[in-house]
């Protein structure tokens, strides 16, 4: 398992380490929200209904684009906590090989106790997001997302996203 998704595993481990210093769940959420603030905003023109992920209590737009065997994602939400979760998912998965994305178990969500802390309805929202990400990775030669204008350069290298808003 590990060998195929080495890069993903590495990024997950980084996140687990970052979150491990918080004992109070409120501090963990404060950090998550902070992470979300650094996610580049999806241009208004791309906040279209066709990109909405169904099943989320908050609005989540998700767009993917494939280049050769890798897939890049761009996403946004209208709520602060969901933005944080999206930022983590993109940090782990965006730019990875499609096959590795589809296989990813995303254990870090449990390790940082995110999944267990969400109500089942919200956990379903998270599950829908992951399903959509994997679905996009599973499409051949896809352009779910669309036009070439869809992805600004900043999303190509998700690990190095420059903060949009200072925190």
């Amino acid at each position: 398992m590990k060998e195929a998704s080495g890069d993903i595993a590495l990024r997950e481990a980084e996140i687990i380490e970052e979150f491990s210093i918080f004992e109070d769940p409120m501090d963990r959420y404060a950090y998550l929200i902070d992470v979300g603030k650094k996610l580049p905003e999806l241009p208004l023109a791309l906040q279209r209904d066709e990109y909405l992920v169904p099943g989320c209590q908050s609005k989540v737009w998700l767009i993917g684009r494939r280049k050769e065997d890798r897939v890049w994602f761009q996403a946004d939400s209208n709520t602060a906590i969901t933005r944080g979760i999206i930022a983590l998912l993109l940090r782990v998965l965006s730019g990875q090989p499609a096959a590795a994305i589809q296989r990813a178990k995303l254990g870090f969500l449990d390790a940082i106790e995110l999944r267990s802390h969400l109500s089942s309805q919200r956990a379903n929202g998270l599950a829908s997001m992951i399903l959509r990400i994997k679905g996009i990775a599973g499409l051949d030669g896809l352009e779910t997302a669309s036009s070439d204008a869809a992805l600004p350069d900043s999303s190509v290298e998700p690990a190095n996203q420059s903060p949009k808003q200072a925190s």
């Binding site: 769940p25 409120m26 959420y29 929200i33 902070d34 209590q57 709520t79 602060a80 802390h117 919200r122």
Partner: protein, 418 residues
């Protein structure tokens, strides 16, 4: 935890004793936080006596009712029909045959709306509701209008989130054949002047249905004084089980309303050429009913009757006042519904912050509230919001819980605005 919570200065012992009847309120959540349950408008918690009634029924009396020739069947039938009498007495109805068990408010409204679509509404007639209705008091009427050719009209609200009575009166015309109105809004806490609404609507010849889903636990109801043609509520909002509810209807209405579902129990005689229907209330109770639920509801209403309801209502209003005073201090907070004369819930948004985020961060601190549209999407749309954060109280809540809620809210907002 309960003893420290309950020994708050200024709190009488009555609510403390009341609280001790609800075992779930002792829950300690993951992370060691005591549960603070402020989602009472969605459903109430259940006292020992209701839980015991359900266990007792399944332990000693479980049997199908009405038809059995044996002792258990008689025991179950007596308990179920006894519960019907308890319900009748609780809402001031002299005739238990006018009390129909349903699965809840939603089914009660659907039963009436579908019956009136077949027997009462004509093309061009009007059904009048208000802008604060729950989806359960909107969609069945849209379906009834579609089936009958009637037209749905919506009475607007004032800037305070109360029914605009003047606009309501303008919409009341001889074409108005049904008025369906909520007593207490679950999204705003507004209390409608239902007696007046009933009188004025009946004066133009309309039948009136009152949605008492929220009112049943907060108001003392007397259907004969109220005079509504129909009144519906759910057991689970008045300390009873889920899956059981009540439709009360005046005899002259229920006699002519066509049955909702066909099946066993609701018939007098069945022939392949056609069937005749049973008398009230069985005409509307096809199939094996929720026997345990009915008995549990009876136990819940007996529990309420045994309380000093006035003292509990005063406590509830004091909780509300303390909450409102606390919310006044929160910057950028908008309260929906009137400041004065409201039921014991607060529904609010905070500028620049999504209600969902507040809900998650309150949950992290052990506080159960509801966020979202509260099944009132048209109302939310009118306010131009997606949803609100709602905290709703019952008399088992304490002043300490209110203070912890306010503290937790401020902490959540500090995180979200950092």
């Amino acid at each position: 935890m309960s003893s420290s919570v309950l020994s708050q200065p200024g709190q009488t012992t009555a609510p403390a004793v009341f609280r001790s009847a609800f075992p779930i309120l002792e829950t300690v959540l993951a992370g060691g936080k005591p549960l603070i349950y402020l989602d009472n408008a969605a459903t109430s918690q259940k006292p020992d006596s209701v839980i015991a009634a359900l266990v007792d029924y399944y332990t000693h009396s479980n049997s199908n009712i009405h038809r059995g020739a044996h002792q258990l069947a008689a025991r179950a039938t007596d308990a179920y029909e006894g519960a019907r009498k308890t319900v009748a007495a609780f809402i001031g109805c002299a005739d238990p045959a006018l009390i129909n068990f349903t699965s809840g408010t939603t089914q009660g409204i659907n039963l009436v709306a579908s019956g009136l679509a077949k027997s009462w509404l004509q093309p061009g007639d009007e059904v009048l509701i208000s802008a604060m209705e729950h989806h359960a008091n909107i969609v069945p009427w849209q379906m009834a209008c579609q089936a009958s050719g009637a037209v749905l009209r919506v009475a607007p609200l004032t800037g305070q989130g109360e029914l605009d009575l003047e606009a309501f009166r303008k919409l009341l015309t001889p074409r108005t054949k049904v008025v369906a109105m909520v007593w207490i809004s679950n999204a705003l806490g507004s209390i409608n002047p239902v007696e007046r609404i009933v009188q004025e609507a009946q004066a133009v010849g309309a039948q009136v249905l009152i949605d008492a889903a929220q009112a049943i636990v907060h108001e003392t109801i007397d259907v004969e004084t109220l005079g509504a043609d129909y009144l519906v509520f759910s057991g689970h909002k008045v300390y009873g089980p889920t899956g059981i509810g009540i439709l009360y209807g005046r005899r002259e209405r229920m006699e002519v309303l066509p049955p909702y579902q066909g099946g066993g129990e609701m018939i007098r005689e069945v022939r392949f050429e056609g069937s005749t229907y049973n008398q009230l209330p069985y005409k509307f109770e096809a199939g094996t009913p929720n026997i345990a639920g009915g008995i549990g509801l009876g136990a819940a209403l007996n529990f309420v009757t045994a309380q000093d309801r006035e003292a509990l209502a005063r406590h509830e209003q004091a909780l509300l006042e303390r909450t409102l005073t606390g919310l006044d201090q929160v910057e950028g907070l908008t309260l929906y519904g009137p400041r004065q004369g409201r039921s014991s819930l607060v529904s609010f948004t905070v500028e620049g912050v999504h209600a969902f985020d507040i809900g998650v961060l309150l949950d992290q601190q052990g506080i159960a509230v509801r966020t979202g549209h509260h099944c009132c999407q048209p109302l939310m749309r009118q306010y131009g919001i997606e949803g609100t954060c709602r905290a709703s109280f019952l008399p088992y809540n304490t002043f300490a819980e209110v203070d912890q809620f306010l503290h937790a809210l401020n902490r959540a907002l500090a995180v979200l605005r950092a």
